[in-house]
């Protein structure tokens, strides 16, 4: 080893002092200096942009607040103020936006359904509240059935043909499950039999409950509309697409060729078709393929179409998450002796779904907004009913359309923003990978 020259060898004999950061790193002035005026051209851009924002916001305040008409019985006041929003129109039509053409004396049923939903959602969404499993069961079974009965009036008269088709579907389902368990060994035999039994019992029980007469006046789905239809379509799509999407994603990565091919074909077909086509098919063509006597409600057909369509999208999002999980996780789960469903349910999916929360919520939000497309098959969703109100001669004024669209946009934005915020909250909460 060579000796260092005395000028290089050095020992620190006093601690370097710990100083506060320089002032331009802290405080509001520091932030503005660093972010808005770091040099002259960024300073000019900042000023121009601030002026632009001030102009837009000023005009918006002018239109939405200062020159707006808040209270009026008809168009007169709104026509008199052609540069301000006509909020009186929004107020007059608001109930219709929520309930559509639902009979006014029956609107309590819609309100009750909303309450039942909120009553389930709140304990579901707040992590601190216990009884999550019960809440999920309530939201997945009791709430939809109660809502269906409340909104339609229940007392369904199932024809012999519908009973037969339900029984045939159950038999097909049972055959698939038994093939998966006895043939492919994907499921324990006991579990397969139990699943078939539970599904059959639940389906038949639901059909019996639905045919009970609760003494409610029947309300045709053609009378539904507005936010009610938007929420029914969006929530059904959201609730159905997640489990279906997960199954399809697992199917696409399955070792069994038949399962994999089915999943790939299903996903690619539904994903390759525009939603408008799906809705047209559901409303116009599906009835042609069904046996005579089996007649689905138009809204129900549209719900099925939306659910299958969005599950194809969801499947690809979930698949992305599954592929992000390192192979070692699958191997560790296998090496511990966990079965396929245990390792998926306990190890892989919790991690995969957490990774793709942004993608899942992205799908939810786009699905929520895509519900506006149902208006092309004659269902009045929120946007559809807002538009239909423009024809009302009682409220025709220069700003009626703009006010209506603006209010509808705010309503849509509120729902989507809530979903987005909640997903960010969940992402943060589920983070366990914080390194030391």
């Amino acid at each position: 080893m060579s000796t260092l020259s005395p000028s290089v060898a050095w020992v620190r004999d006093e601690e370097a002092p710990r100083l506060p950061p320089p002032p331009n790193m802290t405080g509001i002035a520091g932030w503005i200096g660093a972010n808005m005026f770091p040099n002259w051209y960024n300073g000019v851009l900042s000023v121009l942009f601030l002026l632009f924002i001030a102009m837009v916001v000023g005009n918006l305040i002018d239109w939405a607040l200062l020159k707006a008409v808040f209270v009026a019985d008809d168009r007169t006041a709104c026509v008199a103020s052609p540069e301000g929003a006509c909020w009186a129109y929004v107020r007059a039509k608001f109930a219709q936006w929520i309930y559509g053409f639902y009979p006014i004396d029956q609107r309590w049923r819609v309100n009750l359904a909303f309450l039942l939903g909120i009553g389930g959602l709140i304990p579901m969404l707040i992590p601190r509240i216990p009884y999550k499993r019960e809440t999920v069961l309530y939201l997945l079974f009791i709430f939809p059935i109660a809502t269906l009965i409340l909104l339609t009036g229940g007392h369904f008269q199932f024809s012999a043909a519908s009973w037969i088709s339900v029984l045939v579907s159950l038999l097909i389902f049972a055959a698939i499950m038994l093939a998966l368990s006895f043939g492919a060994g994907l499921l324990a035999r006991g579990a397969a039999l139990r699943i078939v039994g539970i599904v059959a019992a639940v389906v038949i029980a639901i059909m019996i409950i639905l045919s009970v007469d609760f003494g409610l006046n029947p309300v045709e789905t053609s009378q539904w509309g507005g936010l009610l239809v938007t929420l029914v379509v969006a929530i059904t799509g959201i609730v159905a697409s997640l489990p279906l999407g997960i199954l399809l994603a697992l199917g696409r990565r399955s070792d069994m060729p038949a399962v994999r091919v089915f999943s790939v074909v299903f996903i690619e077909v539904w994903r390759g078709v525009p939603l408008i086509t799906v809705l047209f098919m559901a409303s116009v063509m599906l009835p042609l393929f069904l046996p005579a006597g089996v007649n689905f409600d138009k809204l129900l057909r549209c719900l099925i179409g939306v659910a299958l369509f969005s599950s194809a999208y969801m499947a690809e999002v979930v698949r992305g998450g599954l592929q992000a999980i390192p192979k070692g996780q699958y191997e560790a789960a296998n090496a511990l002796g966990l079965t396929y469903w245990q390792s998926m349910g306990l190890i892989i999916l919790p991690q995969a779904l957490k990774i793709v929360i942004p993608g899942i919520v992205n799908n939810f939000i786009s699905l929520f907004k895509d519900t506006t497309l149902v208006s092309i098959i004659g269902l009045f969703d929120l946007l559809g009913i807002v538009q239909s109100g423009f024809q009302d001669p009682k409220w025709a004024s220069p700003q009626t359309g703009a006010s209506g669209y603006f209010a509808a946009a705010v309503l849509f934005w509120m729902f989507c923003f809530l979903m987005s915020r909640y997903s960010m909250f969940m992402e943060r909460r589920l983070t366990t990978t914080h390194r030391r």
Binding site: G328, E331, N334, A335, L346, I347, T433, R436
Partner: protein, 257 residues
């Protein structure tokens, strides 16, 4: 392959825990494992070494069916490995495995990682499984980390949790796949200590490792693999002092300085 007289050890029984005969495996056209014959007796501690790509990891991963072999027989604990999912699960319940990269479940706490398999595979009540898990965490000397997530632990701690997680299933055989290769040098010792402790308790162990000190200290057989074949096996003393094959000599000269 001729039977080699391994070191006589009262802890080793004559009953084979693993019996591999004429086993071959291919990755596509590539013949990764060639004519593997290996009997592991209960209580034996075997160290498998060899250059990278020699098939040592693949060999022990065949034992719990993380990899499939294409010909020959593998009998583990009296059960032959076939495509039968039930038998594979049965074997996996009895064979623990520790991986190079730990493979802890990052979304579960240390305690949940350990108690998961006993609860779901052995159908043990949760409280009992957690009590057992604490016992094994104690044994690997990190009971105080039970409530933390794996991401909060050092590599050595994670690997010790991984060992505890395997032990919670009460396995008859433990497989170690380069358990110290991904660790920083100062953490290797704490993991090896746990493994030595386990070896001294009489566990049947198959360990792919380059820790020759560990091999000398606890192994009663060292197996050297090269290019998918078992080239040499012997007791550690003879293996290190008097290697027979040229390939073994070359390998040892490269890893022992």
């Amino acid at each position: 392959m001729a039977n080699i007289d391994v070191k006589q050890d009262p802890a080793v029984s004559n009953e084979p825990a693993i019996d591999i005969t004429g086993m071959n495996k291919w990755y596509g056209d590539f013949h990764v494992l060639r004519d593997i014959n290996l009997s592991v007796y209960r209580g034996e501690r075997i160290v498998i070494c060899g250059p990278s790509g020699s098939g040592k990891s693949t060999l022990i991963r065949c034992i719990n069916r993380l990899e499939q072999h294409q010909s020959g027989r593998i009998v583990v604990d009296g059960i032959e490995l076939t495509d039968d999912v039930k038998k594979i699960d049965e074997i996996r319940r009895e064979v623990g495995m520790v991986f190079q990269h730990f493979n802890l479940f990052p979304h579960l706490t240390v305690l949940e990682n350990c108690a998961l398999a006993p609860i779901w595979v052995r159908k043990m009540p949760k409280a009992e499984a957690e009590r057992a898990a604490m016992k094994y965490l104690q044994r690997v000397k990190i009971p105080e980390q039970a409530a933390k997530y794996p991401g909060q632990l050092s590599g050595g701690q994670q690997q010790r949790v991984a060992i505890a997680r395997s032990l919670c299933m009460n396995p008859k055989i433990m497989l170690f796949d380069e358990p110290t290769s991904a660790l920083d040098p100062e953490m290797i010792k704490e993991v090896l200590e746990v493994m030595v402790d386990l070896a001294q308790s009489g566990m049947t162990m198959l360990c792919v490792t380059h820790e020759m000190g560990f091999a000398r200290q606890v192994a009663n057989r060292v197996i050297f693999m090269d290019q998918g074949q078992i080239v040499e096996q012997n007791s550690p003393q003879l293996f290190f002092s008097n290697p027979k094959s040229e390939r073994t000599k070359l390998f040892l000269s490269q890893i022992l300085h």
